[in-house]
Protein backbone atom coordinates (compact mmCIF):
# COMPACT_ATOMS: atom_id res chain seq x y z
CA UNK A 1 0.00 0.00 0.00
CA UNK A 2 1.45 3.36 -0.98
CA UNK A 3 2.47 5.62 1.87
CA UNK A 4 0.92 9.04 2.36
CA UNK A 5 2.43 12.13 0.78
CA UNK A 6 4.27 14.04 3.49
CA UNK A 7 6.46 17.10 3.87
CA UNK A 8 9.46 14.79 3.51
CA UNK A 9 8.23 13.79 0.06
CA UNK A 10 7.49 17.39 -0.87
CA UNK A 11 10.89 18.56 0.22
CA UNK A 12 12.57 15.81 -1.79
CA UNK A 13 10.53 16.78 -4.83
CA UNK A 14 11.37 20.49 -4.48
CA UNK A 15 15.09 19.79 -4.30
CA UNK A 16 15.05 17.26 -7.14
CA UNK A 17 13.06 19.72 -9.24
CA UNK A 18 15.61 22.47 -8.73
CA UNK A 19 18.47 20.15 -9.68
CA UNK A 20 16.63 18.64 -12.62
CA UNK A 21 18.61 15.43 -12.27
CA UNK A 22 20.45 13.79 -9.37
CA UNK A 23 22.86 10.94 -9.04
CA UNK A 24 21.68 7.85 -7.15
CA UNK A 25 23.95 8.40 -4.16
CA UNK A 26 22.90 12.05 -3.91
CA UNK A 27 19.25 11.07 -4.11
CA UNK A 28 19.65 8.51 -1.32
CA UNK A 29 21.32 11.13 0.85
CA UNK A 30 18.53 13.56 0.09
CA UNK A 31 15.95 10.92 1.02
CA UNK A 32 17.57 10.54 4.42
CA UNK A 33 17.89 14.30 4.95
CA UNK A 34 14.28 14.97 4.04
CA UNK A 35 13.03 12.32 6.44
CA UNK A 36 15.25 13.64 9.19
CA UNK A 37 14.19 17.25 8.70
CA UNK A 38 10.50 16.37 8.69
CA UNK A 39 11.00 13.84 11.50
CA UNK A 40 9.33 11.28 9.27
CA UNK A 41 9.98 7.58 9.37
CA UNK A 42 13.10 6.82 7.35
CA UNK A 43 13.18 3.44 5.69
CA UNK A 44 16.76 2.97 4.63
CA UNK A 45 17.31 1.62 1.12
CA UNK A 46 13.65 2.19 0.35
CA UNK A 47 14.22 5.16 -1.89
CA UNK A 48 12.25 3.59 -4.73
CA UNK A 49 9.20 3.13 -2.49
CA UNK A 50 9.56 6.73 -1.35
CA UNK A 51 9.71 7.83 -4.97
CA UNK A 52 6.64 5.71 -5.85
CA UNK A 53 4.58 7.61 -3.35
CA UNK A 54 5.57 10.85 -5.00
CA UNK A 55 4.97 9.40 -8.47
CA UNK A 56 1.41 8.47 -7.54
CA UNK A 57 0.74 12.16 -6.98
CA UNK A 58 2.66 13.21 -10.08
CA UNK A 59 0.93 10.83 -12.43
CA UNK A 60 -2.25 12.89 -12.95
CA UNK A 61 0.04 15.81 -13.81
CA UNK A 62 1.81 13.73 -16.46
CA UNK A 63 5.08 13.96 -14.58
CA UNK A 64 7.27 11.20 -13.16
CA UNK A 65 10.49 10.75 -11.25
CA UNK A 66 12.37 8.35 -13.48
CA UNK A 67 15.48 6.29 -13.01
CA UNK A 68 17.98 6.32 -15.82
CA UNK A 69 21.59 5.41 -16.50
CA UNK A 70 24.36 7.78 -17.46
CA UNK A 71 25.88 6.73 -20.76
CA UNK A 72 29.26 7.90 -19.53
CA UNK A 73 29.74 6.13 -16.21
CA UNK A 74 26.76 3.81 -15.97
CA UNK A 75 25.63 5.37 -12.69
CA UNK A 76 21.95 5.53 -11.87
CA UNK A 77 20.33 8.95 -11.94
CA UNK A 78 16.94 10.22 -10.87
CA UNK A 79 15.22 12.91 -12.91
CA UNK A 80 11.85 14.60 -12.89
CA UNK A 81 10.49 14.15 -16.40
CA UNK A 82 7.41 15.26 -18.26
CA UNK A 83 5.37 12.41 -19.69
CA UNK A 84 2.78 14.28 -21.73
CA UNK A 85 5.07 15.65 -24.36
CA UNK A 86 4.86 14.55 -27.93
CA UNK A 87 7.45 17.20 -28.75
CA UNK A 88 10.01 19.18 -26.80
CA UNK A 89 7.30 21.19 -25.11
CA UNK A 90 9.08 21.48 -21.84
CA UNK A 91 11.73 23.55 -23.50
CA UNK A 92 9.19 25.49 -25.54
CA UNK A 93 8.34 27.92 -22.77
CA UNK A 94 11.96 28.52 -21.86
CA UNK A 95 13.55 29.33 -25.17
CA UNK A 96 12.91 31.43 -28.25
CA UNK A 97 11.78 29.82 -31.50
CA UNK A 98 15.16 30.02 -33.16
CA UNK A 99 16.87 28.64 -30.04
CA UNK A 100 14.53 25.64 -30.16
CA UNK A 101 15.30 25.21 -33.83
CA UNK A 102 19.02 25.25 -33.06
CA UNK A 103 18.46 22.60 -30.41
CA UNK A 104 16.57 20.41 -32.85
CA UNK A 105 19.32 20.77 -35.43
CA UNK A 106 21.90 19.90 -32.77
CA UNK A 107 19.88 16.86 -31.82
CA UNK A 108 19.76 15.83 -35.50
CA UNK A 109 23.54 16.08 -35.75
CA UNK A 110 24.06 14.13 -32.54
CA UNK A 111 21.71 11.30 -33.41
CA UNK A 112 22.95 11.00 -36.98
CA UNK A 113 26.57 10.93 -35.87
CA UNK A 114 28.70 7.83 -35.45
CA UNK A 115 29.74 8.47 -31.89
CA UNK A 116 26.81 10.44 -30.49
CA UNK A 117 28.64 13.75 -30.60
CA UNK A 118 28.22 16.86 -32.73
CA UNK A 119 31.13 19.20 -33.23
CA UNK A 120 30.62 22.82 -32.32
CA UNK A 121 31.72 23.74 -35.84
CA UNK A 122 28.87 21.79 -37.38
CA UNK A 123 26.37 23.21 -34.92
CA UNK A 124 27.51 26.77 -35.47
CA UNK A 125 27.31 26.30 -39.22
CA UNK A 126 23.71 25.21 -38.92
CA UNK A 127 23.00 28.31 -36.83
CA UNK A 128 23.60 30.24 -40.01
CA UNK A 129 20.79 28.45 -41.79
CA UNK A 130 17.99 28.65 -39.29
CA UNK A 131 14.59 29.16 -40.85
CA UNK A 132 13.02 30.93 -37.91
CA UNK A 133 15.60 33.62 -37.34
CA UNK A 134 19.27 33.42 -38.22
CA UNK A 135 21.73 33.42 -35.37
CA UNK A 136 25.25 34.75 -35.42
CA UNK A 137 27.99 32.38 -34.31
CA UNK A 138 28.62 34.37 -31.11
CA UNK A 139 24.97 34.17 -30.13
CA UNK A 140 24.79 30.47 -31.00
CA UNK A 141 27.79 29.81 -28.75
CA UNK A 142 26.00 31.50 -25.86
CA UNK A 143 22.80 29.57 -26.51
CA UNK A 144 24.79 26.32 -26.50
CA UNK A 145 26.26 27.30 -23.15
CA UNK A 146 22.76 27.85 -21.79
CA UNK A 147 21.70 24.42 -23.03
CA UNK A 148 24.66 22.95 -21.17
CA UNK A 149 23.89 24.91 -17.99
CA UNK A 150 20.27 23.79 -18.19
CA UNK A 151 21.40 20.18 -18.63
CA UNK A 152 19.96 19.55 -22.07
CA UNK A 153 23.42 19.14 -23.59
CA UNK A 154 26.79 17.96 -22.33
CA UNK A 155 30.02 19.34 -23.68
CA UNK A 156 33.35 17.60 -23.99
CA UNK A 157 36.39 18.87 -25.88
CA UNK A 158 34.33 21.19 -28.04
CA UNK A 159 31.83 18.49 -28.94
CA UNK A 160 28.26 18.21 -27.75
CA UNK A 161 26.06 15.27 -26.85
CA UNK A 162 22.72 14.94 -25.08
CA UNK A 163 22.78 15.25 -21.29
CA UNK A 164 21.55 12.24 -19.30
CA UNK A 165 18.61 14.36 -18.18
CA UNK A 166 17.71 15.13 -21.79
CA UNK A 167 17.90 11.48 -22.80
CA UNK A 168 15.68 10.48 -19.88
CA UNK A 169 13.23 13.26 -20.60
CA UNK A 170 13.02 12.81 -24.36
CA UNK A 171 13.62 9.12 -24.88
CA UNK A 172 10.13 8.48 -26.28
CA UNK A 173 10.25 11.60 -28.42
CA UNK A 174 13.62 10.64 -29.88
CA UNK A 175 12.66 7.04 -30.57
CA UNK A 176 9.50 8.13 -32.38
CA UNK A 177 11.10 11.05 -34.24
CA UNK A 178 14.13 9.11 -35.47
CA UNK A 179 12.62 5.64 -35.83
CA UNK A 180 15.25 4.09 -38.07
CA UNK A 181 18.31 5.89 -36.83
CA UNK A 182 18.06 6.09 -33.04
CA UNK A 183 19.63 3.00 -31.54
CA UNK A 184 18.58 0.95 -28.56
CA UNK A 185 21.10 -0.79 -26.40
CA UNK A 186 21.08 -4.54 -26.89
CA UNK A 187 21.63 -5.15 -23.18
CA UNK A 188 19.33 -2.74 -21.35
CA UNK A 189 17.00 -1.88 -24.25
CA UNK A 190 17.07 1.85 -23.53
CA UNK A 191 17.88 4.55 -26.03
CA UNK A 192 21.62 4.75 -26.74
CA UNK A 193 23.08 8.01 -27.99
CA UNK A 194 26.72 7.08 -27.37
CA UNK A 195 27.36 3.45 -28.14
CA UNK A 196 29.71 0.86 -29.49
CA UNK A 197 28.25 -0.94 -32.48
CA UNK A 198 29.19 -4.23 -34.09
CA UNK A 199 30.67 -3.61 -37.52
CA UNK A 200 29.08 -6.70 -38.98
CA UNK A 201 25.50 -6.64 -37.78
CA UNK A 202 25.15 -3.15 -36.33
CA UNK A 203 24.10 -4.28 -32.85
CA UNK A 204 24.77 -1.44 -30.46
CA UNK A 205 25.39 -1.22 -26.74
CA UNK A 206 25.98 1.51 -24.17
CA UNK A 207 29.60 1.74 -23.07
CA UNK A 208 28.81 0.93 -19.42
CA UNK A 209 26.63 -1.96 -20.62
CA UNK A 210 29.50 -3.23 -22.75
CA UNK A 211 31.73 -3.07 -19.70
CA UNK A 212 29.28 -5.09 -17.64
CA UNK A 213 28.50 -7.63 -20.37
CA UNK A 214 32.08 -8.39 -21.36
CA UNK A 215 33.51 -8.23 -17.88
CA UNK A 216 34.30 -11.92 -17.64
CA UNK A 217 35.02 -12.65 -21.27
CA UNK A 218 38.61 -12.78 -22.46
CA UNK A 219 37.71 -12.65 -26.15
CA UNK A 220 34.67 -10.42 -26.46
CA UNK A 221 32.23 -11.37 -29.19
CA UNK A 222 29.09 -9.70 -30.47
CA UNK A 223 26.05 -11.10 -28.67
CA UNK A 224 24.06 -11.19 -31.93
CA UNK A 225 26.38 -12.37 -34.70
CA UNK A 226 29.30 -13.71 -32.66
CA UNK A 227 31.88 -11.72 -34.58
CA UNK A 228 34.87 -10.36 -32.70
CA UNK A 229 34.07 -7.22 -30.79
CA UNK A 230 36.65 -4.79 -32.17
CA UNK A 231 36.62 -2.14 -29.47
CA UNK A 232 38.45 -1.67 -26.24
CA UNK A 233 36.18 -2.77 -23.41
CA UNK A 234 35.48 0.06 -21.00
CA UNK A 235 36.90 -0.53 -17.58
CA UNK A 236 34.05 -0.35 -15.09
CA UNK A 237 35.97 1.83 -12.71
CA UNK A 238 36.98 4.32 -15.37
CA UNK A 239 34.68 7.21 -15.97
CA UNK A 240 36.22 8.64 -19.11
CA UNK A 241 34.67 6.86 -22.07
CA UNK A 242 36.59 8.67 -24.78
CA UNK A 243 39.43 6.18 -24.98
CA UNK A 244 37.06 3.28 -24.43
CA UNK A 245 35.60 3.78 -27.88
CA UNK A 246 39.01 3.48 -29.41
CA UNK A 247 39.20 0.62 -31.80
CA UNK A 248 41.68 -2.02 -30.81
CA UNK A 249 44.43 -2.54 -33.39
CA UNK A 250 44.98 -5.95 -34.96
CA UNK A 251 48.20 -6.51 -32.99
CA UNK A 252 46.50 -5.70 -29.68
CA UNK A 253 43.62 -7.98 -30.62
CA UNK A 254 45.97 -10.87 -31.28
CA UNK A 255 47.67 -10.43 -27.96
CA UNK A 256 44.40 -10.65 -26.01
Amino acid sequence: MAAQMSDAHRRFLQVLMSHGIMEGAEARKLHRCCCEISKAYYAQDKLDDFVSTINNQLQPLFMQIRKGMSEVDGRTHYALVNMAETEITKMASDYAENELELFRKTMDLIILSENGFASSTDILNSADQLKTKKMKKKEAEQVLKIFVDDKWLSERNGEYTLHTRCIMEMEQYILSTYPDIAKKCNICHSLAIQSQACETCGTGMHLPCVGKYFKTQSRPRCPQCNDFWPYEIPDRSRIDSQSSSRRVSRRELQSL
Binding site: Q14, V15, M17, S18, H19, L61, A84, S93
Partner: protein, 246 residues
Protein backbone atom coordinates in the same frame (compact mmCIF):
# COMPACT_ATOMS: atom_id res chain seq x y z
CA UNK B 1 -5.10 7.96 -23.56
CA UNK B 2 -5.38 10.79 -26.01
CA UNK B 3 -4.05 14.16 -25.07
CA UNK B 4 -4.42 17.41 -26.87
CA UNK B 5 -1.05 18.66 -28.06
CA UNK B 6 -0.02 21.45 -25.77
CA UNK B 7 0.29 24.77 -27.53
CA UNK B 8 3.68 26.42 -27.85
CA UNK B 9 4.63 28.47 -24.86
CA UNK B 10 5.96 31.55 -26.53
CA UNK B 11 4.43 33.98 -28.94
CA UNK B 12 0.92 35.09 -29.71
CA UNK B 13 -1.41 32.91 -31.73
CA UNK B 14 -3.07 34.31 -34.78
CA UNK B 15 -6.19 36.38 -34.40
CA UNK B 16 -5.72 36.87 -30.71
CA UNK B 17 -7.91 39.85 -30.15
CA UNK B 18 -9.24 39.14 -26.70
CA UNK B 19 -8.19 41.40 -23.92
CA UNK B 20 -6.33 39.14 -21.57
CA UNK B 21 -5.60 41.81 -19.04
CA UNK B 22 -9.08 41.63 -17.58
CA UNK B 23 -10.59 38.70 -15.76
CA UNK B 24 -14.38 38.79 -15.83
CA UNK B 25 -15.86 39.21 -12.37
CA UNK B 26 -18.56 36.67 -11.80
CA UNK B 27 -20.94 35.62 -9.13
CA UNK B 28 -20.37 32.18 -7.62
CA UNK B 29 -23.53 30.86 -9.27
CA UNK B 30 -22.28 32.10 -12.63
CA UNK B 31 -18.97 30.33 -12.09
CA UNK B 32 -20.89 27.21 -11.11
CA UNK B 33 -22.94 27.37 -14.34
CA UNK B 34 -19.78 27.89 -16.43
CA UNK B 35 -18.14 24.97 -14.69
CA UNK B 36 -21.02 22.70 -15.47
CA UNK B 37 -20.79 23.48 -19.16
CA UNK B 38 -17.23 22.11 -19.24
CA UNK B 39 -16.32 18.50 -18.70
CA UNK B 40 -14.24 17.42 -15.73
CA UNK B 41 -11.60 16.16 -18.09
CA UNK B 42 -11.26 19.51 -19.81
CA UNK B 43 -10.94 21.39 -16.54
CA UNK B 44 -8.42 18.87 -15.18
CA UNK B 45 -6.36 19.22 -18.30
CA UNK B 46 -6.24 22.99 -17.88
CA UNK B 47 -5.30 22.63 -14.22
CA UNK B 48 -2.43 20.33 -15.18
CA UNK B 49 -1.26 22.72 -17.88
CA UNK B 50 -1.33 25.61 -15.44
CA UNK B 51 0.62 23.68 -12.80
CA UNK B 52 3.29 22.78 -15.34
CA UNK B 53 3.41 26.33 -16.66
CA UNK B 54 3.86 27.78 -13.17
CA UNK B 55 6.56 25.27 -12.26
CA UNK B 56 8.57 25.85 -15.41
CA UNK B 57 8.48 29.63 -15.01
CA UNK B 58 9.34 29.47 -11.36
CA UNK B 59 12.29 27.13 -11.82
CA UNK B 60 13.83 29.96 -13.80
CA UNK B 61 12.79 32.40 -11.09
CA UNK B 62 10.77 34.32 -13.65
CA UNK B 63 7.80 36.03 -11.99
CA UNK B 64 4.54 34.93 -13.54
CA UNK B 65 2.14 37.52 -14.89
CA UNK B 66 -1.56 36.90 -14.76
CA UNK B 67 -1.77 38.20 -18.32
CA UNK B 68 0.49 35.38 -19.45
CA UNK B 69 -1.47 32.80 -17.51
CA UNK B 70 -4.64 33.89 -19.26
CA UNK B 71 -3.12 34.21 -22.70
CA UNK B 72 -1.00 31.08 -22.77
CA UNK B 73 -2.80 28.60 -20.56
CA UNK B 74 -6.37 29.55 -19.68
CA UNK B 75 -7.31 30.91 -23.12
CA UNK B 76 -10.95 30.15 -23.94
CA UNK B 77 -11.54 28.85 -20.40
CA UNK B 78 -11.44 32.39 -19.07
CA UNK B 79 -14.89 32.00 -17.61
CA UNK B 80 -13.70 29.34 -15.17
CA UNK B 81 -10.39 31.04 -14.49
CA UNK B 82 -10.79 31.22 -10.73
CA UNK B 83 -11.71 27.55 -10.45
CA UNK B 84 -8.67 26.49 -12.47
CA UNK B 85 -6.33 28.71 -10.47
CA UNK B 86 -7.74 27.51 -7.15
CA UNK B 87 -7.35 23.88 -8.10
CA UNK B 88 -3.85 24.47 -9.43
CA UNK B 89 -3.00 26.11 -6.12
CA UNK B 90 -4.30 23.13 -4.17
CA UNK B 91 -2.28 20.75 -6.35
CA UNK B 92 0.87 22.80 -5.91
CA UNK B 93 0.39 22.69 -2.17
CA UNK B 94 -0.53 19.03 -1.92
CA UNK B 95 2.14 17.64 -4.24
CA UNK B 96 4.98 20.16 -4.17
CA UNK B 97 4.52 22.11 -0.96
CA UNK B 98 4.43 25.33 -2.99
CA UNK B 99 2.03 28.26 -3.05
CA UNK B 100 1.36 31.17 -5.40
CA UNK B 101 2.15 34.52 -3.83
CA UNK B 102 1.17 37.79 -5.44
CA UNK B 103 4.11 40.18 -5.30
CA UNK B 104 2.54 42.90 -7.40
CA UNK B 105 -1.14 43.47 -6.71
CA UNK B 106 -1.49 46.18 -9.32
CA UNK B 107 -0.16 44.19 -12.28
CA UNK B 108 -0.99 40.79 -10.80
CA UNK B 109 2.40 39.17 -10.81
CA UNK B 110 3.09 35.99 -8.89
CA UNK B 111 5.94 33.86 -7.63
CA UNK B 112 5.91 30.42 -6.07
CA UNK B 113 7.23 30.02 -2.57
CA UNK B 114 7.70 26.93 -0.45
CA UNK B 115 5.21 26.34 2.34
CA UNK B 116 7.49 23.82 4.02
CA UNK B 117 9.14 24.88 7.27
CA UNK B 118 12.50 26.35 6.40
CA UNK B 119 15.66 24.73 7.62
CA UNK B 120 19.14 26.08 8.00
CA UNK B 121 21.74 24.66 5.68
CA UNK B 122 19.24 23.25 3.24
CA UNK B 123 20.87 22.67 -0.12
CA UNK B 124 18.50 23.75 -2.84
CA UNK B 125 20.89 23.65 -5.72
CA UNK B 126 24.56 22.96 -5.32
CA UNK B 127 26.22 24.76 -8.16
CA UNK B 128 26.40 28.15 -9.75
CA UNK B 129 22.96 28.92 -8.32
CA UNK B 130 24.24 28.48 -4.79
CA UNK B 131 27.14 30.79 -5.49
CA UNK B 132 24.79 33.39 -6.99
CA UNK B 133 22.50 33.14 -3.99
CA UNK B 134 25.53 33.59 -1.75
CA UNK B 135 26.37 36.82 -3.51
CA UNK B 136 22.76 37.90 -3.31
CA UNK B 137 22.57 37.26 0.43
CA UNK B 138 25.68 39.32 0.94
CA UNK B 139 24.11 42.21 -0.99
CA UNK B 140 20.79 41.87 0.86
CA UNK B 141 22.65 41.93 4.16
CA UNK B 142 24.52 45.04 3.22
CA UNK B 143 21.31 46.80 2.19
CA UNK B 144 19.50 45.80 5.38
CA UNK B 145 22.35 46.85 7.66
CA UNK B 146 22.48 50.20 5.89
CA UNK B 147 18.86 50.81 6.80
CA UNK B 148 17.04 49.01 3.98
CA UNK B 149 18.48 51.09 1.19
CA UNK B 150 21.97 51.68 -0.15
CA UNK B 151 23.51 53.63 -2.99
CA UNK B 152 25.06 51.67 -5.83
CA UNK B 153 28.48 53.19 -5.22
CA UNK B 154 28.38 51.94 -1.63
CA UNK B 155 27.31 48.45 -2.73
CA UNK B 156 30.08 48.18 -5.33
CA UNK B 157 32.65 49.51 -2.89
CA UNK B 158 31.57 46.86 -0.40
CA UNK B 159 31.75 44.13 -3.04
CA UNK B 160 35.13 45.40 -4.15
CA UNK B 161 36.45 44.39 -0.74
CA UNK B 162 35.21 40.87 -1.50
CA UNK B 163 37.11 41.04 -4.79
CA UNK B 164 33.98 41.33 -6.89
CA UNK B 165 34.31 44.14 -9.41
CA UNK B 166 31.61 45.32 -11.80
CA UNK B 167 34.11 46.05 -14.54
CA UNK B 168 35.96 42.72 -14.49
CA UNK B 169 34.79 39.28 -15.53
CA UNK B 170 34.47 37.24 -12.34
CA UNK B 171 35.57 33.62 -12.54
CA UNK B 172 32.35 32.34 -10.99
CA UNK B 173 29.76 35.04 -11.72
CA UNK B 174 30.99 36.26 -15.08
CA UNK B 175 29.50 39.66 -15.79
CA UNK B 176 28.72 40.66 -12.21
CA UNK B 177 27.17 43.98 -13.14
CA UNK B 178 24.68 42.20 -15.41
CA UNK B 179 23.97 39.58 -12.75
CA UNK B 180 23.26 42.15 -10.07
CA UNK B 181 21.61 44.93 -12.05
CA UNK B 182 19.66 42.76 -14.50
CA UNK B 183 19.24 39.16 -13.42
CA UNK B 184 18.61 39.80 -9.72
CA UNK B 185 16.26 42.65 -10.60
CA UNK B 186 14.36 40.57 -13.16
CA UNK B 187 13.99 37.81 -10.61
CA UNK B 188 12.61 40.38 -8.17
CA UNK B 189 15.35 39.79 -5.60
CA UNK B 190 16.57 43.38 -5.84
CA UNK B 191 14.88 46.62 -6.66
CA UNK B 192 17.23 49.14 -8.23
CA UNK B 193 15.83 52.58 -8.90
CA UNK B 194 17.62 55.57 -10.40
CA UNK B 195 18.10 58.51 -8.08
CA UNK B 196 16.62 61.55 -9.84
CA UNK B 197 18.74 64.53 -10.78
CA UNK B 198 22.01 62.68 -10.45
CA UNK B 199 24.62 63.01 -13.13
CA UNK B 200 26.31 60.59 -13.72
CA UNK B 201 23.18 58.57 -12.81
CA UNK B 202 23.23 56.95 -9.39
CA UNK B 203 21.02 54.15 -8.21
CA UNK B 204 19.29 53.12 -5.06
CA UNK B 205 19.43 49.43 -4.03
CA UNK B 206 16.62 47.89 -2.03
CA UNK B 207 15.24 44.45 -1.36
CA UNK B 208 12.91 43.18 -4.09
CA UNK B 209 9.56 41.55 -3.31
CA UNK B 210 10.92 38.02 -3.83
CA UNK B 211 13.70 38.59 -1.33
CA UNK B 212 11.16 39.64 1.24
CA UNK B 213 9.15 36.48 0.63
CA UNK B 214 12.02 33.98 0.43
CA UNK B 215 14.03 35.18 3.40
CA UNK B 216 13.52 37.48 6.34
CA UNK B 217 15.25 40.32 8.13
CA UNK B 218 15.69 37.98 11.06
CA UNK B 219 17.52 35.40 8.94
CA UNK B 220 19.70 38.02 7.30
CA UNK B 221 20.61 39.55 10.64
CA UNK B 222 21.51 36.06 11.97
CA UNK B 223 23.74 35.63 8.94
CA UNK B 224 25.51 38.93 9.57
CA UNK B 225 25.84 38.13 13.26
CA UNK B 226 27.39 34.77 12.47
CA UNK B 227 29.85 36.33 10.03
CA UNK B 228 30.93 38.95 12.53
CA UNK B 229 30.88 36.57 15.50
CA UNK B 230 28.51 38.78 17.45
CA UNK B 231 25.00 38.47 18.80
CA UNK B 232 22.18 39.79 16.59
CA UNK B 233 21.15 42.11 19.42
CA UNK B 234 24.45 43.93 18.96
CA UNK B 235 22.78 45.97 16.25
CA UNK B 236 19.94 47.47 18.22
CA UNK B 237 17.83 49.09 15.52
CA UNK B 238 18.19 46.23 13.04
CA UNK B 239 17.45 43.74 15.80
CA UNK B 240 14.26 45.55 16.75
CA UNK B 241 13.26 45.89 13.13
CA UNK B 242 13.85 42.20 12.51
CA UNK B 243 11.83 41.28 15.60
CA UNK B 244 8.94 43.52 14.55
CA UNK B 245 9.00 41.98 11.10
CA UNK B 246 8.21 38.41 12.15
Amino acid sequence: MSQRKRSRGSGLTQGDDEDFSVVPTQSPSQVQRNLESRSQEEINRKVTELVQFLLVKDQKKIPIKRVDILKKVIREYKDVYSEIVNRAGRTLQQVFGLQMVEIDTKHHIYILTSTLPRVEGENLKQDIQTAKLGLLIVILSFIFMKGNSAKDSAVWEFLRRLRVHPGEKHEVFGDVKKLVMEEFVRQKYLEITPIPLTDPPEFNFQWGPRAAKETSKKDILSFVAKMQKKEPSFWISQYNEAKANT
